[in-house]
Symmetry: C2
Subunit: 562 residues, 2 copies
């Protein structure tokens, strides 16, 4: 059956900022005006678009909730004309708090849907904050009936989508704040398609974009038809207004008594919609790279910084972070500090300098040798008779940390740390040394992936010197030191770490999947023993299914081995 009129829907995939109620509201209004210009019937915004996601313990402040509700009321008043807007906000009723979506039309809040299924795993703590809704609302616009629900509500076969379909809805607007990890789009698409098909409904899936502390949201909003077929998709990691005409069947069942009638006609007359090209599907490395760029950019700018500084060692990690920073902030906003010691080889200096030159960033060289020597002298009487050990290695890293922080304090530059996930897992890093900084950009990127991302970046333009890829990784904190003196080869290490850290596999299982017992025991022991370091590390950007930080909450005091 062909409808006389198509329904024009829009997804405004916005980048909200946590807590910026006024700023977010202004942005929402701008997108609604834009959608109205295109005669859109319905526009939807992501989950908690009004207050940003996740607001965490701000939600425990009664004033924050009442400010949310006031901001929503003001927003509703500012919207007029023939467009329905679905806006995520934190709703407070009596002593209860809900993760909610307001359905707004012509200055009025026509209904509020309250999220039913609250995720409370991984990075999510929604049961800490929210009460569960219990109503599966449906709305009528012209002859079309649609339902609204939020995020995981749509995953459950017996959830609101089913009741909304039973009440006549042929379209579900599902609003989300789904954090990124590599290849997550496919997981979402499969879940949405299966529910669309099962309930014979079109689904408009709106997702947030932007960085928020440890999380980055990738957008990639989508629309699937009632057969589960993907109709269109929004861009990744950038704000987007996706407008689509949908040929949705009119419900032939009698609509539920609970139907809320919004308007009797659609927006008209409609101009023809310019069909835009689908955004290209990103290759895995490109997608992760863009995610890191956005996470970095938003952390820096949303926290009021303009420039960043990082230590350049001539190694692959700091090279990648420098490239990410330039791509996120522009080369004029990035400074690299090269801080050689007696153990720094000439090649490191050449590589660091060439990288800085290729990227066009400020390059500052400060030797730590004199300061290091003085520390040794001052400590000598206290350490008499004792040999050199990690103490002296850590001292060098900490002198570098101090110098970076001095530049940060003096010029207001944010320090980026350059440690990767393999180091962060095993504690192969110095607390208050190379771990010192405001954002640990590649904290969730295993070393083997660091190489791949660097190759990807060089495929766009050659910025990281070739030698950086081929030389053996070293911390250069003692003579002839190599990472592989302390750690197993990274190809092996990263696979063991994935099994242990991300998949919670036990030692027996990991060993039986083909790894050397001694190596597995050594690696997992390092992971367990270094929880205290990770607890004091800066936030990093999550790009795997399980990152350190809110995502993985291990006790420091812990005698369990397994």
């Amino acid at each position: 059956m062909k409808n006389e009129t198509l329904l024009r829907v829009a997804i405004a995939q916005v980048n909200s900022t946590v807590g910026d109620l006024q700023g977010n509201a202004a942005k929402i209004i701008r997108y609604i005006e834009k959608a109205k210009d295109s005669s859109t019937d319905i526009i939807c915004f992501p989950e908690l678009a009004l207050c940003g996601y996740p607001p965490e313990d701000l939600l425990l402040k009664p004033k924050f909730i009442s400010d949310n509700v006031s901001a929503l009321k003001n927003l509703a008043k500012a919207i007029n004309g023939h467009v329905v807007a679905v806006v995520g906000f934190a709703d407070g009723r009596f002593k209860e708090t809900y993760n909610a979506a307001a359905i707004i039309y012509n200055g009025q809040i026509k209904g509020v849907y309250r999220k039913i299924f609250l995720p409370n795993y991984g990075v999510f703590d929604e049961k800490r904050y929210f009460d569960s809704g219990d109503k599966s609302l449906v709305f009528g616009l012209g002859d079309f009936i649609f339902g609204v629900n939020i995020c995981e509500d749509i995953w459950y076969p017996d959830g609101p989508t089913k009741s909304q379909a039973a009440a006549g809805a042929k379209l579900i607007l599902n609003i989300n704040a789904s954090p990124y990890h590599a290849d997550k789009f496919k997981e979402r698409q499969a879940a949405i398609a299966s529910q669309a098909k099962a309930n014979s409904v079109f689904v408009v899936y709106a997702n947030l974009i932007g960085g928020q502390d440890e999380l980055v949201f990738d957008g990639q909003s989508m629309i699937v038809d009632n057969q589960g077929k993907l109709l269109t998709k929004a861009k990744a990691f950038t704000e987007d207004l996706l407008i689509q005409d949908l040929d949705i069947p009119v419900s032939r069942i009698r609509p539920s008594k609970k139907l809320i009638k919004i308007a009797s006609t659609l927006s008209s007359p409609k101009k023809n919609l310019v069909i835009r090209e689908e955004p290209e599907t990103l290759e895995s490395e490109a997608e992760i790279y863009q995610g890191l760029v956005l996470g970095l950019k938003d952390y820096v700018f949303k926290n009021g910084f303009g420039k960043v500084v990082l230590g350049l060692s001539g190694g692959i990690d700091s090279s990648l972070v420098a490239a990410l920073a330039v791509d996120a902030l522009g080369n004029e906003n990035v400074a690299g500090l090269f801080m050689p010691s007696r153990y720094t080889c000439r090649q490191s200096q050449e590589d660091a300098m060439l990288l800085a030159k290729n990227l066009g960033i400020k390059f500052i060289a400060i030797s730590i040798e004199q300061i290091f020597r003085l520390y040794l002298l001052v400590l000598e009487p206290h350490f008499a008779g004792l040999g050199r050990d990690t103490t002296e290695e850590n001292l060098q890293a900490r002198i570098r940390g101090n110098i970076l922080m001095a530049f940060s304090n003096k010029f207001g530059w944010l320090v980026l740390t350059t440690g990767n996930k393999s180091e962060m897992s095993t504690g192969y890093a110095t607390l208050y040394g190379d771990m010192a900084g405001g954002l640990a950009v590649i904290k969730d990127v295993p070393k083997t992936l660091v190489y791949k991302l660097s190759r990807y970046r060089n495929s766009i333009s050659q910025v990281i010197p070739e030698c950086v890829f081929t030389k053996a990784p070293t911390a250069e904190l003692k003579p002839n030191q190599l990472d592989q003196d302390t750690l197993p080869p990274y190809e092996i290490l990263d696979n063991i770490l994935k099994a242990y850290v991300e998949e919670d596999k036990d030692l027996t299982k990991i060993i039986s999947s083909g790894f050397d017992k001694e190596i597995v025991c050594k690696v997992t022991d390092m992971v367990d023993k270094n929880e205290y370091k990770r607890r004091q590390s800066p936030p990093g950007i999550k790009i795997t299914p399980k990152a350190f930080g809110r995502d993985r909450r291990m006790p420091i005091t812990n005698k369990y081995k397994g």
Copy 2:
């Protein structure tokens, strides 16, 4: 009605270690044997006594759950004779995980109660880990019928206590892992008494003791009668085996069909119970002081350290932390580093030395002046034309941090940081400087309470020099610096912080309760802006209703003002 035989119950208020299944099981067996020697009928252990509390994301490891279940089975086999043991453990069934209590008798697990009400606020994340139980089991021992439930299960008027009482239970064994904050015993007692009375049941309330990262458990287990009267109470902050004979009425209603019969007689013959003296009720400061001592001691020893080192400035904070460390670990295990700069006055040195002498701890003096001067020299060309600011202040703190960490690395001593809650709230501390260390002992202690606790400690023996109390607090990082140049007077500051941080009050409310608007705005702004520092601070011991850390999860990126 007087029973022919009294029921002899015991509470084993143990100090479990998270993850130490074997060690905890061995301890549980030792206490059961001890209780048997006293002809105890029922002995109960705290919540999750077998695996320690909270095990956090260890609970997401399937092997950890199966190891828990195996350890419980082995434990049950090891228990024989006429005693019922109630042991908290993590139970796994199919894909579900429960916070559970096993009821063990004569080598057999007679029943498993699964916690129904799961706390998911404050420091608690139980909905992240556990499924909810749905059975309110009751058990028969001789003529006595009792119910078992866990922690918050007993708070709810319509919870399992009511159903268990309805099923004939005259006694509820309620097992807990209730973290300490000041004066919490009174809150618990009121809640338990009210439910005991409402349901006309005796309640045996067993609580954990011990330190676990940010938490310390105070024990203070108790038994109340069916009128809500407190019969007896276990010690605070120490392991205890509390044994009590209870004159419990025999149920006159027909027991529920669901009753699990454990044994037809009680343990006998009973020797007379030696009635022991009630532990003294601690004054508020004494209680908090003991909590900090236990939290510190357990963090150090459970993590495999023997000795600690801290910076002594001659100020009140480091003096208190040194005293706490000596009381927790013994003076032979504490070293104080005095690290003067050009800004350190003679009085500071005298006070630090006298404190160290009074406490009998190792005292090491290392001037940071030369190193500081060299940093300034090295940075001079880069900072040319710019005035002195916090950069140079932070540098001094970071040099001290480096030296402390060098001692930690070289000798394996754990570094204690000495910052208080007032500083941690406002960011009046240097990241990687005085914030560097493994445990922030007084991180949850406001400055005004630091003085009170120090006075309390001196009331036992005079260890902190009098001058430390009377001189004005200063960081001594620039000439003539006083805390009060940057912060409002601590009496005012601490009250504003309590309202904003602990009570989530908004600015308007705080101002209207009698504080200067400008000061309130300045203080709350400092709190908001320094979230990034707190995120990288070491764990501290929670002693207030809301501590930093797991207890308060604020976003770093946050534009909300209110």
